[in-house]
């Protein structure tokens, strides 16, 4: 950061810093992604669109919550997928009604809770784990933080895979129920989509409230200069911890949604690479804007599903091709627009 200060001091000699080109890129990007989404819907029809929108809703919750940490607080966390997984596994373990006793594979206790009873627990457990992890991670910064957050993602994955008494390891957990209000079960795709969108809206609302509150302003100040803001009477560690926990809780919610939607989870959904893709979409969309994360998540989902329809691309390479595109986009953005498409903050 003092590099930046240095650069600014040097430039300060010759007048105010050059302004970043705030061209219409933001609007163009927005229209492009939205147009793409609409075109896709028209082309593909309802069923698939609903699936995609549900995936979008889940990834958007993740992206928005991660942006709180990365964009607003300046902690480049690659470990967010861990909280996502914790949420998903908590939901799976608590709510699954599969009775594994009759099967010959690894069996775990399944309390068979209803969705809405398990949901708060998912969120709480993700938050609790985040609290513990956060206390340790609070001292790390910049690239060391990146490294230890890599570590968290790997440790979390290892637990999902190897803590077989709890997670059934590689077998995964199935028969995870859909949300139900009394006897009305949201087992239709549209109903679940609406539920997921409501969750997304709630998360966006909460994030919006957070970032426009005094708390949010302090976060941005922490991002810019931790030591300086401490001098003005803020306990930086508490604020960092708080936003870390809040963000993890939202990721836990996303995980619970995923578990309930797919009705089956296994550790493969929570590998490190997914986390790297997640941070890529947050940066791609734009740091320190909620809208950017929504846009990024939308582009991400469309990218994969859109690429399935490219005639020259063998279907088995769609996932990889998307990764290539994301990687290249990331490089180009860092080169020309380090704040992301509609971002308000450069790393």
């Amino acid at each position: 950061m003092s590099h930046l200060a240095q650069a600014i001091r040097e430039l300060g000699d010759s007048g105010p810093l050059r302004r970043m080109p705030r061209a219409n890129l933001e609007r163009i990007a927005t229209v492009l992604v939205l147009g793409w989404a609409v075109g896709f819907m028209l082309w593909q029809g309802a069923g698939f669109t609903i699936t995609l929108t549900t995936i979008f809703a889940i990834w958007a919750i993740l992206a928005v919550s991660l942006n709180l940490v990365v964009g607003f607080t300046g902690l480049l966390s690659v470990g967010h997928i861990g909280f996502f997984g914790i949420g998903a596994y908590t939901m799976a373990i608590l709510a699954s009604d599969a009775s594994y006793d009759r099967l010959r594979t690894e069996s775990i206790p399944t309390p068979d809770w209803p969705f809405f009873a398990a949901l708060p627990v998912c969120i709480a457990i993700a938050g609790l784990v985040a609290l513990g992890v956060g206390v340790v991670f609070n001292r790390f910064r910049d690239d060391i933080f990146v490294l230890v957050s890599f570590g968290f993602a790997i440790i979390a994955f290892s637990f999902f895979l190897n803590l077989r008494e709890l997670t059934r390891g590689a077998f995964g957990i199935h028969e995870i129920p859909r949300p139900a209000f009394g006897s009305w079960v949201l087992d239709g795709e549209i109903e679940f989509l609406i539920f997921a969108l409501i969750c997304l809206a709630l998360v966006v609302l909460i994030c919006w409230l957070i970032v426009t509150s005094s708390f949010g302003r302090v976060l941005t100040a922490i991002r810019e200069d931790e030591e300086a803001i401490a001098v003005f009477g803020y306990r930086v560690t508490h604020f960092k911890l708080a936003v870390w926990v809040l963000s993890a809780m939202m990721a836990g919610l996303a995980g619970a949604l995923l578990a309930s939607w797919t009705s089956f989870i296994d550790p493969n959904s929570f590998i490190l690479l997914e986390s790297m893709l997640l941070i890529a979409i947050v940066i791609l969309g734009g740091l320190a804007t909620i809208w950017g994360s929504l846009l990024g998540a939308m582009a991400f989902v469309l990218l994969e599903e859109g690429m399935r329809f490219l005639p020259f691309l063998p279907p088995e390479f769609v996932g990889q091709a998307r990764q290539v595109v994301l990687g290249v986009l990331l490089v180009l953005l860092m080169l020309f627009r380090p704040q992301g498409l509609v971002g308000r903050y450069k790393l």
């Binding site: 003092s2 600014i8 007048g15 005094s214 300086a228 001098v231 003005f232 009477g233 708080a242």
Partner: protein, 248 residues
């Protein structure tokens, strides 16, 4: 020595080491509550370290700081405002990627974690921010990103940010460095105005014109130790100060 009832900050055997280097070495000084105190000394004499210790930016290695009669062995940065202390930094440390307005606003709002989550900008905050920004002459630039301001403007904004804290004691680390005369005059004015309002001002400076003109009290440090202190013109004419610092 100033009489102790009028002392705002009193340090006893204050020490700080960086490895083998004793940046501040058993320093005992008293800073009077009224007026302006300036700290001078050769490069590396521990001036900035001293200020960093008082504001809790660096942890103490030894000694006690007595602020307003309260003795502290540990000064925590986030508690320094409770002791009535606020500061600026030698290398201007603004929150670069947020606006000048938010730079001021951030020090006005709620300190406690949970209430801050529910607090929105209040009219009182707005008024203070506007007043401060006008006082330092940065009102027109309130929407600019702090990182995009010129060097002088950044200095002013940082001083404004400290002023917004409305503390008893202000520690200014080289507030006049690198400013051209016009800006310098403005900072001087601000400092005098603040003194007249009854605040304690402590600043570090190398600018001898200003050191001769502004402060009421002068502390001279040399290699982490107190070389001498007292009334400005008296101190500046002392042999040891000329030898170690002024060299004229």
């Amino acid at each position: 020595m100033t009489d102790s009832s009028a002392t705002v900050i009193h340090t006893i055997d204050l020490s700080k080491h960086f490895g083998a280097v004793r940046a501040v070495d058993e320093l005992t000084v008293a800073i009077p509550k009224t007026g302006i105190t300036s700290i001078v000394g050769p490069n590396g004499s521990g001036k900035s370290t001293f200020v960093n210790l008082l504001s809790g930016t660096l942890p103490l290695d030894g000694g006690i700081v007595i602020i307003d009669g309260v003795g502290l062995r540990v000064v925590r940065a986030h508690e320094s405002p409770q002791h009535g202390i606020t500061r600026t930094f030698q290398e201007v440390r603004l929150f670069e990627q947020i606006s000048a307005w938010d730079n001021i606003m951030v020090v006005l709002t709620e300190r406690r974690l949970v209430p801050s989550l529910f607090e929105r900008v209040k009219p009182a905050h707005r008024e203070t921010a506007e007043r401060v920004l006008r006082e330092v002459g940065m009102w027109e630039k309130r929407d600019a990103m702090a990182g995009e301001l010129s060097y002088g403007q950044r200095k002013l904004l940082e001083i404004g940010r400290a002023m917004a804290m409305d503390a008893q004691t202000y520690l200014f680390d080289e507030p006049f460095a690198g400013l051209f005369p016009q800006m310098l005059e403005r900072v001087k004015e601000i400092v005098i105005r603040m003194r007249d309002q009854g605040h304690t001002l402590i600043f570090i400076s190398h600018n001898m014109d200003i050191v001769r003109e502004l402060p009421d009290h002068l502390i001279v440090l040399d290699s982490g130790k107190l070389l001498t202190e007292g009334e400005v013109h008296d101190v500046l004419s002392r042999e040891e100060v000329i030898e170690a610092y002024l060299g004229e």
